[in-house]
């Protein structure tokens, strides 16, 4: 799965620390999601979509082989 968390974060001018506070998770979680090392739960994905005011499908999408 791929995501555009870093791009969305840059649009809103959030640091990882700020985003982690808004999403109620740790900074290492946001970092791991951005690096593609962790796939968030549906709850966290929806929370991030709400923070960025963007549909969740525009932030997370499947790889071609998934």
């Amino acid at each position: 799965m791929k995501n555009s968390i870093k791009v969305e974060r840059a649009k809103k001018n959030y640091t990882q620390a700020q985003l982690s506070e808004l999403a109620k998770v740790s900074r290492q979680t946001i970092n791991a999601i951005e690096l593609g090392k962790y796939v968030p739960s549906a709850l966290l994905a929806l929370r991030l979509a709400k923070i960025f005011e963007t549909p969740v499908e525009e932030i997370f999408w499947l790889d071609e082989n998934e």
């Binding site: 990882q16 109620k24 998770v25 290492q28 979680t29 791991a32 090392k37 709850l43 966290l44």
Partner: protein, 169 residues
Amino acid sequence: MDVLKLLPRGYRYFGLILTVPTFFIFLIDSIYFETGITVGGSFFDSSSDFFTRTVYNLVAFQHGEIVFFKEIKNNLINEFGLAIMLLGSWMLAFARIKGEDEFSQQLRLQSMSSALVWNSALLLLFNFLFYDGMFFFVMITQLFSFSLIFSIIFALKIRKYRKGLSNEE
């Protein structure tokens, strides 16, 4: 979303305080009982009467028969030592870390899976390396080794991800 119910953070340090010295005492005593080599004397010396109490053995064999709740006198220091190791290793394993969330829960479950594999592999190896009385101590160690191995693997995983944070904003 909490998958596992965990203890407060402070229990981690309490678990370390209980586990580390007890483990070394246990190790030294294992060597003492098997080889007679003393390192400052045996801590779990069964000749000491202070911890000797009347207890009830749930199931015992007496003259070829099974007896329930048989009253015996037993030195309980080994039992207390094992209880401290078990409680300490559980506290270490199941205490919250700083910033506990769904990602650390996933790392926790991965660590449990790895710990199960490593613990079983070590038991398989020790099965062919230790014999007679020493294998008894291997079996005793197996009672708490899973929690200890899990704690080590989990700590290494958390450290690895926290180290990576210094390269990011």
